[in-house]
Symmetry: C2
Subunit: 192 residues, 2 copies
DNA sequence: CAAAAACCATACGGAAGAGTATGGATTGCC
DNA sequence: GGCAATCCATACTCTTCCGTATGGTTTTTG
């Protein structure tokens, strides 16, 4: 339940705050990112925070940038190593489906698209992922326009799934049924 | 810009507050639902509000219930009159696509799934819509399990599309391109 | 080992927003 | 017209949370 249950008696760095912030965002959303709450959770007081960061916004921006760059090399980096265009999309679907944990922050950020700070980040990230999907569909044999629309459809399905499952707890789909769903997605969305 | 630019000098009812609340939710999200802000917008003060409602939560609940019941007879009611099962799904897709206005509240509520008050409402609404889609796919010829998964996929695509277009303003898709996207959805998701 | 830098606690000030108390204004009704 | 009921304004209190000021404590370093 408690992140810092063992009293890590080392002093904190800016990175510690950013990681804690991302953790909190993933669990309770951007709106819950309050400095005093974070401080309590880290076992210190505000005095510490305002040494490392000039303001609350600064923390948010730092955390968002950290998350964006992590996702850049991790999420997309792995997939790009699958060179066979025919295996690429199914592999992508299956991996994303079974590593939902890193997508928690993304789901939380999706719900914070009114905060002006997160909009540009999400715009960049979504844009890159869309382009990735589009070229993948092209390599799978779809003509340009089809590939773009299929990418839109796929990405929308991904985003919607995150919403309907993390945040809303719809009839909590179980594991094997979930696998069946993923295979169904592959069968309907990926051209044979 | 201003909703009540003409000083409607009639006194307010609870319904007025609920409608104004829904309007505000659609534009700025649930988080922006503050009673003093609403009061300013309606040209009155808090004193009025707390006569009609016991608390801020009460207003939210009333507004949500109003929205839920409106959607019940409007959104689903119309579609159920299309008796031909083969025409049903394409018609549904096209109508939903071209009447995005009533879906603004839904999109806003989707981003507020951390508020405990909206979760049950969204759970009910989503559940009903899912069931509607599932039976529609069954009537279109899909076996039970397939129909359920296809409904999940469709609904996720719908939800994701709302997110990516209303709130995030991705490369603002234009009108004819949007129509092409809808037809692409129909072609890929609805069995021939 | 002392001085400087890094890190943190305590105690403020101030803004925003929920909710209460109370009296005044307006409207429907007899 | 006058009396209730309804509706609203004003003026508070209380809480939460951001940010500042200031001084203390721990590390680092020359």
């Amino acid at each position: 339940m408690n992140v810092s249950s063992k009293p890590e008696r080392t002093r904190l760095s800016a990175e510690d705050w950013e990681l804690a912030a991302l953790h909190l965002i993933a669990e309770q959303g951007v709106g819950a990112l309050a400095v005093e709450a974070l401080a309590r959770q880290l076992g210190v007081t505000k005095g510490s925070f305002y040494w490392h960061f000039r303001t609350r916004e600064a923390l948010l921006n730092a955390a968002l940038e950290r998350w964006e760059q992590y996702g850049e090399r991790e999420v997309l980096g792995q997939i790009e190593q699958i060179t066979d265009p025919r295996k690429r999309l199914p592999e992508l679907f299956r991996r994303v489906a079974h590593e939902l944990q890193p997508h928690r922050v993304y789901a939380a950020l999706l719900k914070a698209l009114d905060h002006p700070q997160v909009v540009p980040v999400m715009a960049r990230v979504s844009q890159r992922r869309m382009e990735f999907l589009t070229t993948a569909y092209r390599e799978a044999g779809l003509p340009a326009q089809e590939a773009l629309n299929r990418a839109r459809l796929t990405y929308a399905a991904y985003v919607g799934f995150l919403q309907l499952n993390f945040t809303l707890g719809l009839p909590r789909i179980n594991h094997e049924e979930f696998d069946a769903y993923v295979e169904h997605m592959i069968a309907t969305l990926i051209p044979a």
